[in-house]
Symmetry: C2
DNA sequence: AAGAGTGGTGCATTTTTTGCACCACCCTTG
DNA sequence: CAAGGGTGGTGCAAAAAATGCACCACTCTT
């Protein structure tokens, strides 16, 4: 698609903030790039960038144009995807922005399943925290968004959503391991392994703790999955996760997951969808379908 | 916008049905045009046109691409319009597809009013019958649609609608001229001037006539406005029109308009709007606003 | 005051596009 | 059946457009 090369150039200049830097990453001369920009501005009749001493910056007209460019480029990708799908081949790139809670095991196995059927499709999976998923969609950095406990959904087109209770994960020998349901104050008596506050699970826990007047002591604060679901958890530490992120072989590892009473910690929501008003490429749409079907089958 | 020249070429080839004809209307060599097409198909990886002995025809992939092209081109027009509007200037072209009932006096005066304020804006007004307005929008042949008694509204985004009763127009000396309301059978006793059946008014009349078992005798069947509202109507002929299309100076012309009992002929609807899912250019949006405000003021 | 960064420009070179002439093909028409 | 007018496709030379290089003017930091 050589004819939307100018678009790519503009986008790169906007991102780099300077013609020279953009030229470098585009592997052309600053001179050539500069002239292309001038030509575009001339055709458009207005400046797109304001010239500063340290580089260039998009002005309002440029913002409008850039939004159009991003729409246009991903719409073109969709068209190519649809056309390729006509001839039976399924190609393209599925770009996903997902909360870390989804990346533990669920999404990986879904991608594996899809790719075994359509090897021509590539994937790009980005970990984004609650509020950042929607932004990734707006900036056309991702086609599909999967969020646990989203901050807002103004530009989010929800295709499917599902409740996900919070589980407490511990060693089989833990005093709480035999319970059917846990109260939050019971957990709070043990040393906790917690994630950063940007995680949806942590957020739910914190809010509940405040409401109930409980203090959560984090002996380890980490985002590394290895700590949250540990092979050899020697002590009485507890960690938390949502249902979908708990691996199947948890028991083999000598561990158990016990649900927390939803009256203490309310169940969170997983939202699956894409940018409002967009038609996403065929491969992405099919993958979305597969994911929602799988979710509905397992938790619906 | 030179970079979307290829789009223009494809659209023209599709419209002309032959590379040579398209080349002629694009004022370039068939050879050059052919090569551009081949390049595009090569970049896309698929054929866009099937080659026939008498020319070329879009295949399915081409249909998908063409839809994208049309969206892209009118979206670009919108972006340019928005950018121009930033600097205070209002430019652009307002393209309207409207039922003939609206073209008598209403739209002309609205256009005049708008252009006196924004001389930089040009207009394109197309007369389309009931079912054709929506098609014009779908093919991006028009930004704004105004229909009296539309056939369907599947892809139509209604911004405003209003009821419009049918009036009977006659000379002041006509026996029916003094009535406050007319029954349809009263009209049927006189010679009628009717439009083609594709008009919304005619359609309403015909359906009512069938329902009531009345026979409408058209002594003149014409679409010419001069006949419908005639300066010197010598005989007792009657014509019909809707409220908005009746000129202000009807009385000066020695004529009167008497409403028909809505129990006989139901009131029709005028729908004002644009293609669903589209953001129309600034100038078009403002004009739409003006039209709906005017309608609401006069008939709301 | 020096230096490193920025965007802009004249000119020769390279790359791309175009026009011309022509080919092979198909269908209509005489 | 043959001729003729239409179609899309292609080799080659000319024209046009884009690029790279060297350099300028400028601003801000050091």
């Amino acid at each position: 698609m050589r004819h939307l090369l100018p678009y790519k150039y503009i986008e790169e200049i906007a991102k780099a903030g300077s013609i020279r830097k953009a030229a470098e990453s585009l592997a052309i001369t600053p001179s050539a790039l500069n002239r292309r920009l001038l030509t575009i501005e001339d055709e458009l009749g207005v400046q797109i960038f304001e010239r500063l001493a340290v580089g260039v910056r998009l002005n309002t007209a440029g913002e409008i144009l850039l939004e159009h460019i991003r729409n246009q480029m991903s719409d073109m990708a969709r068209v190519q995807s649809q056309i390729a799908d006509l001839s039976g081949q399924r190609r393209g790139n599925v770009s996903i922005a997902a909360s870390p809670e989804l990346l533990g095991s669920f999404l990986a196995s879904e991608v594996r399943k899809y790719q075994s059927e359509f090897p021509g499709v590539t994937f790009k999976v980005q970990q984004k925290f609650r509020g950042d998923v929607e932004r990734a969609l707006i900036e056309h950095d991702a086609d599909i968004g999967i969020v646990y406990e989203p901050v807002k959904l103004a530009d989010f087109q929800t295709i499917y959503n599902i409740v996900q209770p919070v589980y407490c994960i511990m060693d089989q020998s833990h005093p709480l391991a035999k319970k059917q349901k846990l109260r939050l104050y019971e957990c709070a008596e043990y040393p906790l392994i917690l994630t950063e506050r940007s995680w949806g699970v942590r957020n739910l826990l914190e809010q509940s703790a405040i409401r109930l007047g409980i203090n959560l002591r984090a002996v380890i604060q980490t985002d590394a999955r290895g700590f949250l679901i540990n092979y050899e958890r020697e002590n009485d530490q507890l960690s938390f996760d949502i249902q979908i992120n708990i691996p199947d072989n948890l028991e083999e590892r000598g561990m158990v997951a016990v649900p927390i009473n939803p009256l203490d910690v309310p169940e969170g929501f997983i939202f699956v969808g894409h940018l409002k008003g967009r038609t996403i490429p065929v491969a992405s749409a099919r993958f979305l379908e597969q994911v929602t079907t799988e979710m509905a089958g397992r938790f619906g």
